[in-house]
């Protein structure tokens, strides 16, 4: 188990901590993310845990500048994402498995994104081999199975060899072998000193992958803890998770009536 912090070795010396400061997003009357302040450290896998609709994906989109926060900010090494010099070399993101054109081959998809950040073409071949898509690289991505789409998304995230990785539900649709592959990959990346922030609604999976946990419900921070701390004093991790998130649900029930 990799639990301690290891300083970055082969990585560029930029600070790759993710810092959220009172991050807030509203959709009409609905508050999707509510004053979220969190620091995600390098060197460990940080699980981002919460029930469906708790604001995980919205938070990740705001970190990447895809959605604009109504209040607060998200910083990568002290810089807002749109101000980063080489975005793909700084943050690798897997937001959803369908973020490609189905008519384009995996190779062309990766080559286009590589060109945008001046990443050499040889890296495309490399990431295709890492995720195991070398043999399917020239096929149109629309013909891929869900598992292969996730692997293509991981290839995009790894393309720029970034110090920060942001993955939204990466194990969705993967078979047990694929889940283990992702788990080993993420732990390896964190062990190299990278910041790995991975969301899930599955506490059992997070218990195996993550060291630290950020738990949210209804867009609010419920706990910033470790897997070990959360498990202590409860029957099971699952019970602890339900205890945390049910309070958020109760709060919302009162507020809405």
């Amino acid at each position: 188990m990799v639990s301690g912090f290891r300083p970055p070795t082969a990585l560029p010396s930029v600070d790759c901590m993710i810092e959220l400061r009172e991050l807030t997003k509203r959709y009409g009357d609905q508050v999707a993310v509510d004053g979220l302040s969190v620091r995600v450290q390098p060197g460990v896998v940080t699980g981002f845990l919460g029930p469906n609709g708790s604001g995980k994906s919205t938070t990740m989109r705001m970190i990447l500048g895809l959605d604009a926060p109504d209040h607060g900010e998200a910083l990568i090494g002290g810089v807002r994402y749109p101000d980063v010099d080489w975005p793909l070399k700084t943050v690798g993101a897997l937001l959803d498995a369908g973020a490609f054109h189905p008519g384009r081959s995996a190779r062309a998809h990766l080559a286009a994104l590589a060109a945008s950040n001046d990443i050499p073409g040889s890296r495309v071949k490399q990431v295709l081999r890492i995720v195991g898509l070398s043999d399917a690289a020239t096929r149109r991505a629309g013909t891929y199975s869900l598992g292969m789409r996730q692997r293509l998304g991981v290839a995009v995230a790894l393309l720029g060899d970034p110090g920060v990785l942001l993955l939204d539900e990466p194990v969705n649709g993967l078979d047990p072998e694929g889940i283990r592959w992702i788990r080993d990959l993420l732990r390896g990346l964190a062990a190299e000193g990278r910041t790995v922030f991975v969301s899930s609604h599955l506490i059992a999976e997070m218990a195996l992958t993550a060291d630290r946990l950020v738990v949210i419900g209804r867009g609010r921070l419920l706990a910033e803890t470790t897997v070990a701390e959360l498990a202590a004093g409860e029957d099971s991790l699952e019970d602890a998770f339900f205890r945390l998130t049910s309070q958020a649900t109760d709060y919302r029930g009162v507020g809405a009536s």
Partner: protein
């Protein structure tokens, strides 16, 4: 090394444009439709009495541009909406978060490609017409004649600019079906409306794209009352600029 710029985004867009089949199909269809229209016109006039003039053949053999403009307009729309519809746009904006650089790259790459295809298509229409009247008494239209060359070149320019209007509308509307519908509507509805006013409709009609194409741009001498072909082509560029600027303003504030 101070970060990505237009050059990188343009390389990305060039790879994206050339790596989907729809680009090639639309480009081929645009050229074929103009060549076929040109040849059809030429064949139709072969046994026509009185003998057709060179201008008659040229004006009509560029008529395939009515179809080609829709195909290249759709190409421009899809360069943007194809990304919103598939989720690709999130990958694009994650790679190049300064969105206006993405839009500028799309305008340059798609505009350049559509201009090239438009010129090839326009020339194919001209050539189709000329080849189909070979061996008849109809006088050949030479590209050495400035009026003929101007009509062929400006028709190609018109087609390229139509794709840019498509890029602008695609950026504003973001949905493929709605954007293509909007583009087609903007091409045809004003023409019908202008037609309702009869003779006085020309005051409005000279601003309408399709009427400019058929009566000013793709003809040897413009119909009286319309702008000269150069002014008409510039007006089209103005429409494209307005559509793209509106898209650029909206692009900045909307969530992707």
């Amino acid at each position: 090394m101070n970060g990505y710029g237009f050059r990188h985004a343009a390389r990305m867009e060039r790879i994206k444009l050339s790596s989907v089949r729809s680009t090639w199909w639309l480009a081929i269809a645009a050229v074929v439709s103009m060549a076929a229209a040109g040849a059809g016109v030429g064949l139709g006039y072969r046994s026509h009495t009185p003998v057709a003039t060179a201008a008659q053949i040229l004006n009509n053999s560029l008529g395939g541009a009515i179809v080609a403009q829709l195909l290249l307009g759709a190409l421009g729309v899809l360069v943007v909406t194809g990304e919103y519809g598939t989720g690709m746009i999130r990958s694009t904006f994650a790679a190049v978060p300064r969105r206006r650089i993405v839009l500028a790259a799309k305008v340059a790459v798609c505009g350049g490609a559509a201009l090239t295809v438009g010129l090839v298509a326009s020339f194919a229409g001209y050539l189709g017409g000329q080849l189909a009247i070979r061996g008849t008494a109809i006088p050949a239209a030479s590209l050495g004649d400035p009026a003929i060359l101007r009509a062929v070149v400006l028709t190609g320019v018109y087609l390229g600019v139509t794709a840019l209007i498509g890029v602008g509308i695609g950026t504003i509307v973001r949905h493929s079906g709605a954007a293509i519908g909007t583009l087609f509507g903007l091409m045809f509805v004003p023409m019908i409306v202008a037609g309702l006013f009869g003779e006085s409709g020309i005051q409005v009609g000279r601003f309408v794209p399709l009427l400019m194409l058929l009566n000013s741009i793709a003809v040897t001498s413009p119909v009286p009352g319309l702008f000269s072909s150069w002014i008409s082509a510039l007006l089209m560029c103005g429409y494209a600029a307005v559509a793209i600027l509106c898209g650029a303003v909206l692009l900045r504030h909307r969530d992707a």
